[in-house]
Symmetry: C2
Subunit: 243 residues, 2 copies
Amino acid sequence: MGCGTCATAYYQHVVGEPDVDQRADAVELLALVATLADHAFVRFAADAVNAPTAPERLSRSRLAACSVSRRDRVLDRLADLGGDPVVQIVRFDRVLDDFDARTEPATWAERLLRGYVGCAVSEDFCRLAAWGVDVDSRDLVLDVLDDADHVEASVMALCEACADDPALASRLALWGRRVVGESLQTVSRLLAAYPALGRLAARGMSALREVPDGAEDVQPASKVLNELTAEHTRRMSKLSLTA
Amino acid sequence: MGCGTCATAYYQHVVGEPDVDQRADAVELLALVATLADHAFVRFAADAVNAPTAPERLSRSRLAACSVSRRDRVLDRLADLGGDPVVQIVRFDRVLDDFDARTEPATWAERLLRGYVGCAVSEDFCRLAAWGVDVDSRDLVLDVLDDADHVEASVMALCEACADDPALASRLALWGRRVVGESLQTVSRLLAAYPALGRLAARGMSALREVPDGAEDVQPASKVLNELTAEHTRRMSKLSLTA
């Protein structure tokens, strides 16, 4: 997602040590990342209960445990910046609950694809916005979101399932479009309801593209959504599914 | 639960290094302990979703994560002794699923009490049987079951809830009796279906009471259940509830 090295130099020039407003913005992003990890915990735990085999059950429960530790690392940073973990961990509940309610999977493959596609969109958004916060918070967010184990596991299981079953592949392609539609709407609602997230994403896009200081405000939400859609298309083709 | 120091000397005299049969028995106990930890993970994860407050939600998810790591430590030891974790982790599913299905809690307090009472009975049983296996496995089982954080948290929450509400206290006393009844039936079914567990529990009771070598076989299952009931009574009085 863009050139990290150039962006670092740019970012440090623009932001430096976070002031009060920047801290508040960072707390907002960290709260979102922690909430995503918390939801991942709940999702992986439900996956473990529904897993069709014992190895998948063991593996999903381990991912659930990792999500708790990732969430807690983010909450620690949030507390360092003056945020209250107990208050912040429930702020984004409603938005993500809506996503869950609208994408209830009917099969194990749909469940895996929802995790792979749905979470990836929100995580891409957080990665982008991470380039708008202080260096320590950004590094933590990028590190926490870089835990790609479950992605690899899901991709392998889905590729295997689709390899000899074109009907399943086309059903899943359809399901993937529905999930990504809901994910993009979720991000859209977040941008509308939480201006700080919009600011951070715009700053992130400027940083990653080396746009000069001050030009960040002209980035509309639609550009963020385009960026996320492009990432999604790349992700679906990794599964040989049509985005 | 008895005198650990005397039992250690006795135990090492009787058992020494585990032979093939003793290894098989130890694998059976470790599989049960791992399954209990796995069920604790599922239960704590469900607790986290149902928790009435954010601090309880955070705390229950952390307990769920700890249960995964406790389970995996036990599965590692099981593998060292030649057991297959993937095969063993599903062996006791049915027995524990029955317990869960028959003690579905209606309120948060009932949920906490089920965890406090129900798991404690199975865990007491495992602690007893642990005195019948090799020293390394025993130490691991006792250590893994010694994670008393959730017990303290549950006791405190339940005591607070009952303090000013005698009606709730008497409803919970009734619920506790139902849960312990189901728990003892679970242990009873385990003893009937898995002779190795019966052997280990009998050996454990002999060890803890310094009964001479060979006398262990005369311990009937009812003595084990009496021992577990006595522990339960002590536990309920800690909550000022009638057992």
